[in-house]
């Protein structure tokens, strides 16, 4: 009796109510998560999705626009400039620093230091070919202006810059395209197609024109579904070989052509 009694320690409180509340709360939590996954996704867009799609800006990188007088980049030093850009060709990989031998314990025995061999992760049977850049390759940012298929064209409508790798043969040599079209259409003999075929889906024929004008690799890429129309189209292309030689100032060795035939009569 002498000992002080603290009723709070002796009071045995029932945990049932709290447990029940906790269970109900968790059930509600799970239910709300479930409801959100079922219904929430249908309302509006999810996170991270653009709400106003289609406003993306398409950027074509060109060295300079003819209309905009940007200062020419001064080439001040022939030294290699560090650039973030990976460049046109793969650079030589930077060699990893050799393992710091000094940090290792010098072994007691006078044996060669055994550096643990790196475990090969990749399949050793597949040898990765090392890409050798050609001797005249200039890494990005270290040369002058690109001398690839890059051109700016002045048309009657204004100046047009044609980007790298998109040199439009048809734009530049429209007369050649027209000559090809006229020659092939003059060799397309509708009389070889039976007269009750009045029209047919387009036949697409792809071929290459070599430097000397000869046609190679002619093949039907999309059939019309009517064999005689396909044959007449392919025959028209093959009968037109050789075409006129490619334009003298065109730098490439060949031109790929996608040609279609529309039968309507």
């Amino acid at each position: 009796m002498g000992a002080a009694t603290f009723p709070i320690f002796n009071h045995r409180e029932s945990l049932r109510g709290a447990l029940l509340a906790s269970i109900i709360f968790h059930c509600l939590l799970a239910l709300s998560a479930l409801v959100y996954t079922i219904w929430g996704g249908r309302m509006g867009k999810g996170w991270g999705q653009s709400l106003n799609s289609g406003s993306a800006v398409h950027v074509n990188a060109v060295a300079s626009l003819p209309g905009v007088p940007l200062p020419q980049p001064r080439i001040t030093t022939p030294n290699t400039v560090a650039v973030q850009n990976p460049g046109l060709f793969q650079n030589e990989p930077v060699p990893k620093p050799p393992p710091d031998l000094m940090a290792q314990k010098i072994p007691k025995f006078k044996e060669a230091v055994k550096i643990p061999e790196k475990k090969m992760l990749a399949n050793p049977r597949i040898q990765k070919e090392k890409i050798q850049p050609p001797p005249n390759a200039i890494p990005y940012g270290q040369g002058g202006r690109p001398t690839m298929s890059y051109s700016s064209v002045t048309t009657s409508a204004g100046d047009v810059a044609i980007g790298i790798g998109q040199e439009d043969f048809g734009e530049r040599y429209g007369w050649y395209v027209q000559a090809v079209r006229n020659r092939i259409s003059s060799n397309w003999l509708l009389s070889t197609i039976s007269p009750n075929i009045l029209n047919a889906p387009r036949v697409y024929v792809d071929f290459d024109i070599n430097r000397d004008g000869s046609i190679t690799n002619a093949r039907i890429t999309q059939s019309s579904g009517i064999p005689e129309v396909d044959r007449s189209a392919l025959r028209a292309v093959l009968a037109s070989s050789p075409l006129a030689p490619l334009p003298a100032d065109y730098s490439g060795n060949k031109v790929s052509v996608e040609f279609y035939f529309d039968l309507r009569r």
């Binding site: 298929s149 700016s152 064209v153 002045t154 048309t155 009657s156 790798g165 040199e167 439009d168 043969f169 048809g170 734009e171 530049r172 040599y173 429209g174 007369w175 395209v177 027209q178 000559a179 090809v180 079209r181 006229n182 020659r183 092939i184 259409s185 003059s186 060799n187 397309w188 003999l189 009389s191 070889t192 387009r202 004008g213 009968a239 037109s240 050789p242 075409l243 006129a244 030689p245 334009p247 100032d249 065109y250 730098s251 490439g252 060795n253 060949k254 031109v255 790929s256 052509v257 996608e258 040609f259 279609y260 035939f261 529309d262 039968l263 309507r264």
Partner: protein
Amino acid sequence: MNIRYVKYLVLLSIPLLAILAGTRVTKSQTEGWFRTGINLGQSTVRIAVPDFASRSADPRAVDLTKTFNQVLWNDLNYSGILDVVSKSLYPVNTPQEPQDVDFNGWSNPPASAQMLAFGYTETRGNSFVVTARLFDVHNPSNPGVLAKRYVADLNELSARDAAHRFANEIIQTLGGGLPGINLTKIAFVSNRTGHPEIWVMDYDGFNQHQITNYPSLNLTPRWSPDNSMLAFTSYASGNPEIYLYSLITNRRIPFPTYRGLNTTPAFSPDGKKIAFCSSMSGHPEIYLSDVNGLGLQRLTFSPGVNISPVWNPKTGNEIAFVSDRSGSPQIYIMNADGTNLRRLITAGGDAEAPSWSPNGLFIAFSWSVKETGHWDIYVIEIATGRIVQLTYNAGRNEHPSWSPDGRHIVFESTRSGKREVWTMLADGSDPHELTTAGENWNPNWSN
């Protein structure tokens, strides 16, 4: 198990992605490409040909420049693929150098030209030098299509030759690779000297000159495939025989003589054989022989006349000829060894003088339909038997012969009053009379 499956899927998808990426790369790395098609509203190329200016005051050079301009204009106008813009629609300034060209003036109406051929002439020493260019005036930043310099002699033939060569270049470039015919020649028979002799002229009728001088009958000239020889029928010895004549040495080349009628020789496309008509065995039949006269072989076996063989120039495997085995002259086709004989035209009338088109698809011939009795030039498409009439109500038209580009036909016609040599486009339009002196007939276009 599940995880391993996913791993395989990933491993499998890597090469697939690589292939896809690879195809994209190869497509974009080809050095240029274009896409075009047929049924886009075809139009012939409109070309403007302003007169070339003479930079030399030498009266001979001025005259030659005039000739050059005239010939160039005619060649382009008669090419069949170009639409030459009338000179009255040209801008005032006639360009001579590339910097003179007013692109808008030429490409906008009224000229509305797509191509522009221009340049100038000058004399250098004893040479007549022509600097000629072809521009695409729709593409001012990159207009140059052709740039040529021709060094000719100070005479008309040479100046005409320069004009023909430049026209040929333009036609080959804008026509899709088929060479022009401006340097080709036409052989024909003319009696202007009193006897029918073999003559040769340029394709436009200029430079007519006599080849044979046998005071007798000379007929049916045919060119060899390399244009170095003419084969024809000559009565010089009294008997109709096959003569070969070299245009390089201007001498006769020996060919065997046979009994009876020997006529209508035709070189095979490889130039190694000659098919001809001979009655050595009684009836006129088609024979085949090497050019040197060896290897004689008879191809037809039928009573009646078999004459006028002509080879398929594309394959060299077929011969068309005229036979009256059905009662009237009709055109038949057989293989070059005499097999697979069939009649070409099933309709009646008299059909003669077949000429096989260079692409092997058509035969031009002269035909007298029973109903009218008029002789006209027709073209038949061999595969389908479709027949197109090229001449109408214009005298008697016979002996067609195709140009090597397949766009022109030369023939003889009496429409001007007497038998003369005419040319026309292969659709029958734009007839031109080439000869006027005496009577001229039996033309054959060189290769």
